[in-house]
C-alpha cells in the first residue's frame, strides 16, 4: 500500500510541493496565460519572459495538489535560462514521459528532478495534474515569441 503511494509521492515531489521554486508573479513578461484543469478546478496563472531567444523568467501563481504544484516548480527550474527551442525540447521529453503509462525511462540529464514524475505516469487520473503548468508554459511561450522560434530541437 505504502510502496504504491511512495512511487507516486517521491521525496523530490514532496520537497518541491512544500518549498516551490520561482513562485509568484513577476515583471517583465511578454505573455500571461491562465489554465485550469476543469475536472478538479486546479488553476495556474503563468507569465513568461523571453529575452533574446532565452527563457529568462517563468513566474506563476498556482492552486492545486502536490503533483501539480511540484510539477510547476520543477518545470520552472528546468526551462529558466534555456534557449526557447531547447526548453521546448524538454517540454516534449516530459510530455512523452507523462503519456508513456509508466513504460518510458526518463533521461535524468534532460529532466533532472523531473524524473521523479515517472511514477505519476502510472496514475492516469494524475497525469493532467502534472501537465497543467507545462501546457500553460508552452502556451505562454508560443505567444511570447515568433512562431518559428518555438520549434523544438527534436522536431
Amino acid at each position: 500500500m505504502s510502496n504504491e503511494l511512495d512511487a507516486l509521492y517521491q521525496e523530490i515531489i514532496l520537497d518541491h510541493y512544500k518549498h516551490p521554486h520561482h513562485q509568484g508573479l513577476r515583471e517583465p513578461f511578454e505573455a500571461e496565460v491562465h489554465h485550469v484543469n476543469p475536472t478538479c478546478g486546479d488553476e495556474v496563472t503563468l507569465r513568461v519572459h523571453v529575452d533574446d531567444g532565452v527563457v529568462t523568467d517563468v513566474s506563476y501563481d498556482a492552486v492545486g495538489c502536490s503533483i501539480s504544484q511540484a510539477s510547476t516548480s520543477v518545470m520552472a527550474d528546468l526551462v529558466i535560462g534555456k534557449p526557447v527551442a531547447e526548453a521546448m525540447g524538454i517540454h516534449q521529453e516530459f510530455l512523452t514521459l507523462m503519456q508513456g503509462k509508466g513504460t518510458v525511462v526518463p533521461d535524468e540529464d534532460v529532466l533532472e528532478d523531473g524524473i521523479a514524475f515517472a511514477g505519476v505516469a502510472k496514475f492516469p487520473a494524475r497525469v493532467k495534474c502534472a501537465l497543467l503548468s507545462w501546457m500553460a508554459w508552452k502556451d505562454a511561450t508560443t505567444q511570447a515569441v515568433p512562431s518559428d522560434a518555438t520549434a523544438s530541437k527534436e522536431i
Binding site: C40, G41, S68
Partner: protein, 418 residues
Amino acid sequence: MDGLLPELDVIRKDFPILERTFDNGQPLVYLDSANTSQKPQVVIDTMVDHLERHNANISRAMHQLGAESTEAFEGARDKVATFIGAPDRDEVIFTKNATESLNLVANTLAWATGDLAVGEGDEVVITEMEHHSNIVPWQLLTQRKGATLRWFGLTEDGRLDLSNLDELINERTKVVSLTWVSNMLGTINPITQIARRAHEVGAIVVVDASQAVPQLPVDVAASGADLLAFTGHKVVGPTGIGVLWGKRAVLDQLPPFHGGGEMIETVRMDISTYAGIPHKFEAGTPPIIEAIGLGAAVDYLGHIGMEAVHAHEQAITGYALEGLATVPGLKVLGPLEARERGGAISFEVEGVHPHDIAQVLDSRGIAVRAGHHCAKPAHARFGVQSSTRMSSYLYTTPSEIDALVEGLEYTRSYFKLG
C-alpha cells in the same frame, strides 16, 4: 447506533460489488454514492433477464417480444410514479439523466408561448449551491431570451440565505429552480416554503432532486414542485436513464423538446401534430433496458422503505460528522448537524490538497470524490478551490466511517502534518 437499517449485513449482500477487494487485499470502502450508487443484484438480474428473454423495441413491434418489452418499459414508469407519489403515471417522462431533464425544461421554456414564455424583463431565480447542471441551462435560457438570472446566496453554515426571499422572488419571476439536497454541502432546502412564495407571484418551480430522491421519502405532489428532475444511477439503478416529473398542466403547455419517432400523433411533409405526455417528450427509441432497471431499483428501495433509508443516512451522517471532527485541521463545508442534512459531506484538511487525500485513501481501498463536485460557485462562496467529499448510502456501515477517519489520520501523517 439508533437508526441504522436492521439487517445491514443482508442488505450489503444484495450489492455484489461490496465484496470487491483490490490487488493489495484491501476491501472496498465505497463512500462515493452521491456520485453514483452501487447496484443490487436484483437490478442487474432484471436487466440481464430482459436482454436475454424479452428484448425488442417498444410500442412499435407487433409481436410477442414487442408486447413484453413495452409492458416492462411502461411498468417501470408505473413503479417510478408510485415511488415518487406522482398523481398521474403519464407525468413521468424518461430522459437520459437529470441533466437532460433540466435542459429539457430550460429549452422548452425558451420556445414556450403564453403564460410560460420567458422574455425580456423576466427573471429566473436559482441558488448559489446548485450543481452546474442547474446553473448553465438557466444561463443559456436567460441569455437567449434577454431575461435576468438571479440567485439565493448562502449563509456561513451552508444554508440558503432566505432573508431576501420576497424581494428575490417577485412579480417579474417566471421560474425558480433549485436543488432539494445539495450535492456538495449536504443541505436540505425548504423547497415547499420557497415554492409557496414562487406560486404567489405566478412563477413555476423546478426542483433538482438528484440527491433527494435517493435519500428522502419523496412525494412530488406535496413537495411544491411543478417540475422535478432526478437520475436513475443515484437510486441504485443504472446510468443512462433519468426522470422528469411534471404536473400535467405544465407539461401540456410546454412544446416538444426533441422531434422524432414516438413523439408524434401524425406527420405530414409540411407539419406534424404531437403525442400527448409522456411520449411527447420521448422522441426516438428510449433507453429501454435502463428504464426497466430503474423500475427494479425503485421497487427495491420501496421495499426497504425510504423512511428507513433516510433514518440510516442520518445515523451514518451523524456518526461521520462526529468522526471527522476528531481529525486535526479538518473543516466541514456545510451544516454540522445531521438533522436537515443529506449524506454528502465535503471537507477540507489543512495542508493537504483534496486530490492527494483521495489518492492516499484510494491506496487503502477507500473511494471518495475530490474536486469541485460540479459546484464551483458553492466552493467559491466558501473561498475554496476544491474539497474532498464522502457520501454514504443504505449499505454504508459505521466501520466504513471508522476506516475513513483512520485513513485521514494516515493521510496527515503521510504528508507529515503535526
